[in-house]
């Protein structure tokens, strides 16, 4: 085990104001279960879970309320005891509607423990799933546990972890990379987690190493988190095998999967649909790793997470462990409300987060932050013509010609944007961040990507329909 400086530096990147001091010294607080939880069936990437409860049902903490619905999908469990008020479409942070189970947690269930309803045991305070000894448990058992614990990537995208930890035949994981960069401004949830729960992260690493067949481990942390690096160094003392803590330079978007792989092991992930496993890497957020440790050792599924509630409008910024499904309004109330009226509410960080229209939206397994910004902190500009200064292309970590792509999309020339590799855009926002003409470059790239995806889906559907038609 040793600590090294990042050996590779990717091109581009920007230095936004981090504003992490607002919440970085606030220890993680566990929030009491709010009176109402809104548990979305779409907390992860892939097919939404299939809801298996109905209004009027009593649910217990840890009970499955949404079944895995396809290969790229994750099951959903009730984060607390209560009565299902309704199952309805609710708006998520990204604006889309998804089925959600609304749970009244003030109504206590009276459900006898049966083999069909093992979750009822939780009402008595026992573990939800039987704890496993990772040293003796088989790889398959551990993998199954990750799946039944409902774990998905907690860094933002929410990719099903069990799928990631089970590479397809012929592909081997050589490097397990832990993402502790947390390069998004304001967010300190991962920082607190590394500081306070470093031994859990070590346990998670040992379990994941076993599942993945003992790959080398790289723990990537930005240099602005020396306390977290020290805590990890202490926790990982004496670990066997090839394990390194890689100190990354402070640069946004250091936390991007592709750039982290490059910064730590110098490998370049090819264009989509290639995945990190194609270059022998699996990247997991530190929160996910801790969740795996909890799921195996304690039998505790992923029912909640640490979310940073910050911004200059919050009375007291905090790092809160809250059940997934807690409404933003409850998180804000737990922080003592607002000291000034917020002009913008952001789910996530300022670079890639979603501005939301309401605080009635619930948290999910991927809600890393909730920011409330006053008007002083909100930038409103009208965009001007591109002056070709080149700041966007110099900032682009994907080395794209952002300026020309944005102009092509404005002219509805999606084909040109596609030819300029717009699909590799990671939507990090570095281009728009530095644009002196305040052009919405990231948004235009997103528009092109959505348009291309829609076209691809239509082509696929057409091909499928053609295949179904019997040949004469």
């Amino acid at each position: 085990m040793k600590t090294v400086k990042s050996p590779f530096k990717f091109k581009g990147g920007v230095h936004p104001d981090y504003n992490k001091e607002l919440a970085r010294d606030k220890a993680i607080e566990t929030m009491p279960v709010p009176a109402e939880l809104v548990v979305s069936m779409s907390q992860h990437l892939g097919a939404p879970a299939k809801c298996i409860v109905k209004a009027g049902d009593f649910v217990t903490r840890g009970q499955v309320v949404g079944e895995k619905n396809g290969f790229i999908s994750v099951l959903v469990r009730a984060p607390a005891d209560g009565k299902v008020k309704s199952v309805e479409k609710r708006r998520g942070p990204a604006g889309g509607m998804a089925d959600a189970v609304v749970i009244d947690t003030t109504a206590k269930p009276e459900v006898p423990e049966t083999p069909e309803n093992p979750g009822a045991g939780a009402a008595k305070g026992g573990p939800i799933l039987p704890p496993l000894d990772w040293k003796t448990a088989s790889r398959e058992d551990l993998l199954k546990r990750v799946e039944e614990a409902g774990i998905c990537g907690m860094g933002g995208a929410g990719f099903p972890t069990a799928v990631k930890l089970n590479p397809p035949p012929g592909k081997r994981c050589e490097y397990l990379i832990l993402n502790g960069a947390e390069c998004e401004p304001y967010l300190t949830a991962d920082f607190r987690l590394m500081l306070e729960r470093a031994p859990r992260i070590r346990l998670g690493v040992e379990i994941m190493r076993k599942i993945l067949g003992m790959p080398a481990v790289r723990i990537a942390v930005e240099a602005n988190k020396p306390e977290a690096i020290a805590a990890l160094e202490k926790a990982f003392e004496g670990i066997e095998g090839n394990v390194e803590i890689v100190v990354l330079p402070v640069l946004y978007p250091q936390g991007s999967e592709k750039h982290q792989i490059y910064a730590t092991v110098g490998r370049v992930v090819p264009e989509p649909p290639a995945l990190p496993i194609d270059v022998g890497c699996v990247v997991e957020n530190v929160g996910t790793v801790a969740a795996i440790a909890d799921a195996v050792e304690l039998g505790e599924p992923l029912l909640g997470r640490v979310t940073t509630v910050s911004g200059d409008a919050v009375a007291e910024p905090k790092n809160i462990f809250a059940p997934s499904g807690t409404k933003y309004s409850d998180l804000i109330a737990f922080c003592g409300g607002t000291k000034e009226p917020p002009a913008k509410v952001i789910s996530g960080g300022t670079m890639m987060g979603f501005a939301v229209s309401s605080t009635d939206i619930p948290t999910t397994k991927t809600t890393s932050g909730l920011l409330l910004l006053t008007r002083k902190r909100v930038f409103q500009y009208s965009s001007q013509a591109c002056i070709n200064c080149g700041r966007c292309v110099r900032a682009c970590p994907m080395n794209l010609n952002c300026a020309e792509i944005s102009k092509a999309v404005e002219a509805d020339d999606i084909a040109s944007a596609e030819a300029m590799h717009v699909m590799t855009c990671i939507e990090c926002g570095a281009c728009s961040f530095g644009c002196p003409a305040y052009r919405t470059i990231t948004q235009l790239c997103r528009r092109a990507k959505n348009s291309i995806r829609a076209r691809m889906a239509a082509e696929k559907a057409k091909a499928a329909a053609a295949a179904k038609t019997p040949a004469k």
């Binding site: 939301v356 001007q384 070709n388 530095g434 305040y438």
Partner: protein, 335 residues
């Protein structure tokens, strides 16, 4: 696109929700700050006359910009300061003796014809100040090639006097003949008085356009732009290095004299680095800079004008879209 407010009055907009907060006007302000030393040097060497030329150009450019935007029924862009930069750059590229009405006509051409006709800042294919300079050189060849001797003091006496009383040739005219001259005479060009001393060329004590004479003042301005990250090193370095190397190979006047006289310094640092009309990527910028230097020297050696800097940049402006096309970077992870 104006973000809209919702029932709960939260502003909705697409990420990112943070900005570096450096706008176009701040960049233009930086360029103006960077031009201060050479402007001061121009006024020092050419007197009040230079002040009048600068004031005429800046005022006419601003007025033309405002009128054009009004006529086009578009929002005013006077505030982005780009018209001030164009006006100042044009003035700095004019001889101090230029009649003020001619300077005003050139300014109108720069903004109306070279910039707003194409849709304003960001749309113009040619550097507006240089396009105007070329237009004036062709239209008013006499006044545009009549140079006043620099004065060491700013005084009312010189600017009131008849310009032709002090006209002179720029060192470039002398240097042009040196390409063909026999180098065996033994006398250095400085000693024969054909070109100014190295020191005079460095500080700018020689005939020329208002803002092009003082290499040291221009270098200070360029250093400021580099420090502020307004420009990158590629174009100035490629341009100046090409001029230097070409002169070494071609012989004639000392290579440093080719760099320090005429428009090379102001062209490499302030005109060729114009965002809108130069390539976007580092590699393209290098190609652009080398092209500018090469064309500039070819015109100086073989062309009918003693100076080729502005034409070189204008020709390279025309090639910019093509250079951009062939210097596209490879996307991270692309084959």
């Amino acid at each position: 696109m104006k973000p809209k407010e919702t029932a709960e009055h939260y502003i909705l907009s697409s990420s990112p929700h943070a900005h570096a907060k450096t706008g176009v006007s701040r960049i233009m302000l930086d360029v103006l700050i960077a031009l201060l030393p050479t402007t001061a040097a121009g006024v020092w060497f050419f007197g009040m006359r230079a002040v009048f030329v600068i004031a005429t150009c800046v005022a006419t450019c601003l007025l033309t910009e405002a009128l054009c935007r009004m006529a086009m029924r578009r929002e005013s862009t006077v505030g982005d300061l780009s018209a001030v930069v164009t006006g100042l750059l044009l003035a700095l590229n004019l001889p101090s003796g230029i009649p003020l009405p001619m300077a005003a006509i050139g300014s109108v051409f720069a903004i109306a014809v070279a910039k707003q006709v194409f849709g304003g800042l960001g749309m113009n294919p040619f550097n507006p100040a240089l396009a105007a300079r070329a237009f004036m050189l062709i239209s008013f060849t006499g006044p545009m090639t009549t140079w006043l001797k620099p004065v060491s003091r700013c005084c009312g006496g010189t600017c009131g006097a008849a310009p032709d009383a002090m006209t002179t040739a720029t060192p470039l005219a002398a240097m042009k003949t040196m390409f063909a001259a026999d180098a065996a005479t033994g006398a250095t060009p400085h000693a024969t008085g054909a070109i100014p001393s190295f020191w005079d060329m460095l500080i700018g004590n020689m005939p020329g356009c208002i803002g092009e004479v003082s290499a040291i003042a221009l270098a200070i301005g360029a250093a400021y732009l580099l420090w502020r990250k307004v420009i990158t090193w590629h174009i100035p370095v490629a341009f100046i290095a090409t001029v230097y190397v070409y002169s070494l190979i071609a012989g004639g006047a000392p290579a440093y004299a080719q760099v320090l006289t005429g428009g090379v310094m102001i062209g490499a640092c302030f005109m060729a680095t114009d965002y809108v009309t130069s390539p976007t990527f580092g590699k393209g910028k290098l190609v652009f800079g080398v092209g500018c230097g090469l064309l500039c020297m070819l015109i100086r050696q073989f062309g009918s004008y003693p100076e080729g800097c502005s034409f070189a940049i204008l020709i390279m402006n025309a090639l910019t879209p093509l250079i951009n096309r062939f210097t596209q970077p490879k996307a991270f992870g692309a084959k």
